[in-house]
C-alpha cells in the first residue's frame, strides 16, 4: 500500500515559487496499479519522484505499507522500491546479469542466490537466460532493454514499484506486447505500483485506478471505468477525449453484457421447427445450429427456413463470427461492424455456445453507467467534496 499525505513540492525558480505538486493525498491499495495521468507539467512525475525522494518533498508524508518513510534512510527506502524510468537507464558497463543483480548485491545477497534470482527473472520476462545474461545492454533492442529494466526493478522483490512512463519510448507494437506481459506478471506478483503515463489508452489498459493531475493538483482519482463514465469536470472530460465512451469498450468484458438466453436448434430438427423457434425467440434473421455438445455448427436463416423444407443439417450456413466471454467489447463491436450484424453468439472456454451479445445490450450497458445528466453529476460531486 502506498499512501500520500498532503505531499507538496514547491520549486524556487528565478520567476518565483512554482508549486509542482499541491497537497496531494491519495492511497493506492496493496496489489493495485495506479496510473498518474495528465498533460506534461501537471505534477504527476514530481509526485512519483517524491515517493523515492529523487525529488525531496517540501512538505507532506509518504507511507508505504502503513510505515511513515520520512525518517527512513534514503538508500534503504530506495532499495525497497522498484524503480523503472522511461530512459531505461541500464548500466552499459555491466552485463545483463550484473544489471539485474545490482540491488540484490547492494543488499548483500550471496552469489548463488542472486545468480539464481537473475535466471528466474529472465524466465519471468520471457528472455532466454543462457542467451542474454552475459550480453551487454547495447546489444539488446529497446523492448528487450526495458524488459531488463523491469526485471532489475523486481530483482529484490520490493513490495512497491514506481514506473515513470516505462513503455513510453518503445514502438507501439512492442509496447502493447510488453504491457500485456507486464499485466500478466502483475497478476502473479501483486505489487503495489504507481505508474506515470500521459497516454489515456495506456492508463485505461493498465490501471486499476487512475489519478488525473492538472497544474499540480489531483483532479480525479477513480477506477478507469468511473473516470470514463463520470469525468469530474470539463478538463478531465476534454483530456479523456470525445470518444471516451468508445474507450470504455476496452474495459467491459463480454461476460458482463452477455445474455445467456439463446435459442438454438439441433441438426436433426426440421426447418419448420427452426422457423417456429425463430419466431418464438423473436429473432429477425437467423438461429444457431448446435450439436449435442452445444458446439456451434452454423446458422439457419429465416428466409431459408420459410421457403425450404427439410432438415437443418442439410442447410446449415457458416457462422460469421463468434466471441468468447473474456473478449472486450471493442473486439465485439469490431466484429459486428465487419460482419454487418447486430448480434454475435458467445462461446465459453470449452467452445460451447453459452449465450449471445447484441448491439442493443452493449449500448444499454454503456449508457446506463453514465449519470443521468452530466451537469447534475458535477454539482453533486462538488457538493460531496465540500
Amino acid at each position: 500500500m502506498i499512501q500520500l499525505d498532503n505531499l507538496t513540492k514547491v520549486f524556487d525558480t528565478p520567476k518565483g515559487a512554482v508549486t509542482a505538486a499541491d497537497n496531494i493525498s491519495m492511497e493506492v491499495p496493496a496489489g493495485e496499479i495506479c496510473i498518474l495521468l495528465g498533460p506534461s507539467g501537471c505534477g504527476k512525475t514530481t509526485t512519483l519522484k517524491m515517493i523515492n525522494r529523487i525529488i525531496r518533498p517540501s512538505s507532506g508524508r509518504v507511507f508505504i505499507n502503513g510505515e511513515d518513510t520520512t525518517d527512513l534512510d534514503t538508500q534503504t527506502l530506495r532499495r525497497n522500491i522498484g524503480y523503472v524510468i522511461q530512459q531505461i537507464g541500464l548500466f552499459p558497463n555491466m552485463t545483463i546479469e550484473e544489471n539485474i543483480s545490482v540491488v540484490p548485491r547492494l543488499l548483500g545477497w550471496d552469489k548463488t542466490k542472486y545468480r539464481e534470482r537473475a535466471r528466474e527473472l529472465m524466465d519471468m520476462i520471457a528472455l532466454d537466460p543462457d542467451a542474454f545474461l552475459k550480453r551487454y545492454p547495447s546489444e539488446l533492442s529497446g523492448g528487450q532493454q526495458q524488459r531488463i529494466g523491469v526485471a532489475r526493478a523486481l530483482a529484490a522483490d520490493p513490495p512497491v514499484m514506481l514506473m515513470d512512463e516505462p513503455f513510453g519510448a518503445i514502438d507501439p507494437i512492442n509496447r502493447a506486447v510488453i504491457q500485456d506481459e507486464f499485466l500478466k506478471m502483475q497478476e502473479a506478483l501483486q505489487k503495489t505500483i504507481m505508474f506515470v503515463s500521459h497516454d489515456i489508452d495506456e492508463a485505461i489498459k493498465m490501471g486499476d485506478k487512475v489519478a488525473v493531475f492538472r497544474e499540480g493538483k489531483l483532479v480525479q482519482y477513480s477506477t478507469p471505468d468511473d473516470l470514463l463514465a463520470a469525468p469530474r469536470n470539463a478538463f478531465v472530460e476534454s483530456f479523456l477525449g470525445e470518444d471516451r465512451t468508445l474507450k470504455r469498450l476496452n474495459l467491459v468484458r463480454v461476460r458482463d453484457v452477455v445474455s445467456d438466453e439463446i435459442g438454438t436448434v439441433s441438426p436433426g430438427d426440421t426447418l419448420e421447427t427452426a422457423l417456429a423457434r425463430i419466431d418464438d425467440f423473436g429473432y429477425q434473421n437467423a438461429i444457431m445450429v448446435v450439436n449435442d455438445k452445444r458446439q456451434p455448427l452454423g446458422l439457419i436463416t429465416r428466409a431459408l427456413a420459410r421457403t425450404t423444407r427439410g432438415y437443418c443439417r442439410d442447410h446449415v450456413q457458416k457462422v460469421p463470427a463468434t466471441v468468447s466471454l473474456d473478449d472486450d467489447l471493442r473486439k465485439v463491436a469490431s466484429q459486428m461492424f465487419a460482419q454487418d450484424t447486430t448480434w454475435l453468439p458467445c462461446l465459453d472456454d470449452q467452445g460451447r455456445v453459452c449465450g449471445q451479445i447484441t448491439q442493443r445490450a452493449m449500448t444499454h450497458y454503456l449508457g446506463s453507467r453514465f449519470r443521468p445528466s452530466s451537469s447534475d453529476a458535477r454539482q453533486s460531486d462538488a457538493a460531496t467534496e465540500e
Binding site: I54, Q75, L77, I85, I88, F91, P92, N93, L106
Partner: protein
C-alpha cells in the same frame, strides 16, 4: 587490374629503395656512427622514461581525483571556473612552464619533473571531468533510484562509464609528455634531449637523430601500451574498440 599492377610496381620500388638505403648506409658508415651512440642512447632512454614515469605518474595520481572532485554536484559552480583556468593553463607552452619552474626550483630533475607534471596534469584532469560529466543523467537517476550511495554511484556507474574518456586523456597526455621530456635537458635533467640539443649545437645530424628517433619510438610504444591497457581495462559494454 591496372591499379593492382600499379600497386605491385610501387611495392617493388619501395622494396628496392629500402634495399639501396641499406646498402648506402652500410657503405657510408652511418650505421657505425649510430652504433657509436648506442650506450648513450640506452642510458639516456632509461633516464627519459624515468622522467616520464615520475611526472606522468604524479599527474595521474593528482589529476583523476581532481577531476572527480570537480565533477561532484556540490562543486558545480567552482568547477566551471576552475576548468576555464585549466583550459587557459593548457595553452601555455611547456617550454615556458619549464622555464617558470626552473626560476623557482633551480635546475635539475626536480624542476623538470614538476614542469612536466603541470603540463601533463591538465589534459588528464580535463578528460576525467568531461568523462564524468558526460555520464547520462538517466543513468545517474537509475543508479540513485535503485538505492546506490553517492560513493557506489561513483565507483560502479560513473567511473566505469567515463573510463574510456579518462584513458583517452591519459594517452594524449603521456604521449605528449614523452615528446616533451627532451626539453627537460635544457634545465639540466638529462634524457634523450641531451643528444638532440647537443647534436643541433654541434651540427651533428647523426647525434641529433640518435636522440630524436628513440624519442619518437618511445612515444609510439607508450601510446600503444596505454591503448592496450585501455582495451583490457575498460568494460566491454562501454568500450568502442571492443564493441
Amino acid at each position: 587490374m591496372p591499379i593492382q599492377s600499379l600497386k605491385g610496381v610501387l611495392r617493388l620500388l619501395l622494396l628496392a629503395a629500402i634495399f639501396f638505403a641499406g646498402v648506402w648506409s652500410q657503405s657510408s658508415g652511418v650505421i657505425d656512427d649510430f652504433i657509436f651512440y648506442l650506450p648513450d642512447v640506452q642510458y639516456l632512454a632509461v633516464q627519459h622514461l624515468w622522467l616520464t614515469a615520475m611526472s606522468g605518474g604524479l599527474a595521474i595520481l593528482v589529476a583523476i581525483p581532481l577531476g572527480v572532485v570537480l565533477s561532484r554536484p556540490s562543486m558545480a559552480r567552482a568547477a566551471e571556473s576552475l576548468m576555464q583556468v585549466l583550459n587557459v593553463g593548457t595553452t601555455i607552452p611547456t617550454l615556458a612552464v619549464l622555464a617558470l619552474s626552473m626560476s623557482f626550483l633551480g635546475i635539475g630533475v626536480v624542476p623538470a619533473v614538476f614542469g612536466l607534471f603541470v603540463a601533463t596534469l591538465l589534459p588528464i584532469a580535463r578528460n576525467t571531468y568531461a568523462g564524468l560529466k558526460g555520464v547520462s543523467p538517466a543513468l545517474m537517476e537509475a543508479a540513485a533510484g535503485i538505492g546506490m550511495s553517492p560513493t557506489q554511484r561513483l565507483l560502479k556507474v560513473e567511473l566505469p562509464n567515463a573510463l574510456y574518456v579518462i584513458f583517452a586523456g591519459i594517452r594524449t597526455a603521456l604521449t605528449i609528455n614523452v615528446g616533451t621530456v627532451p626539453l627537460a635537458f635544457l634545465i639540466g635533467a638529462g634524457g634523450l634531449g641531451e643528444l638532440i640539443f647537443t647534436g643541433i649545437a654541434l651540427y651533428d645530424p647523426v647525434m641529433m637523430l640518435s636522440g630524436a628517433i628513440p624519442t619518437a619510438m618511445l612515444a609510439i610504444v607508450v601510446d600503444a601500451l596505454i591503448a592496450l591497457t585501455a582495451f583490457l581495462i575498460v568494460p566491454r559494454g562501454v568500450n568502442p574498440s571492443r564493441a
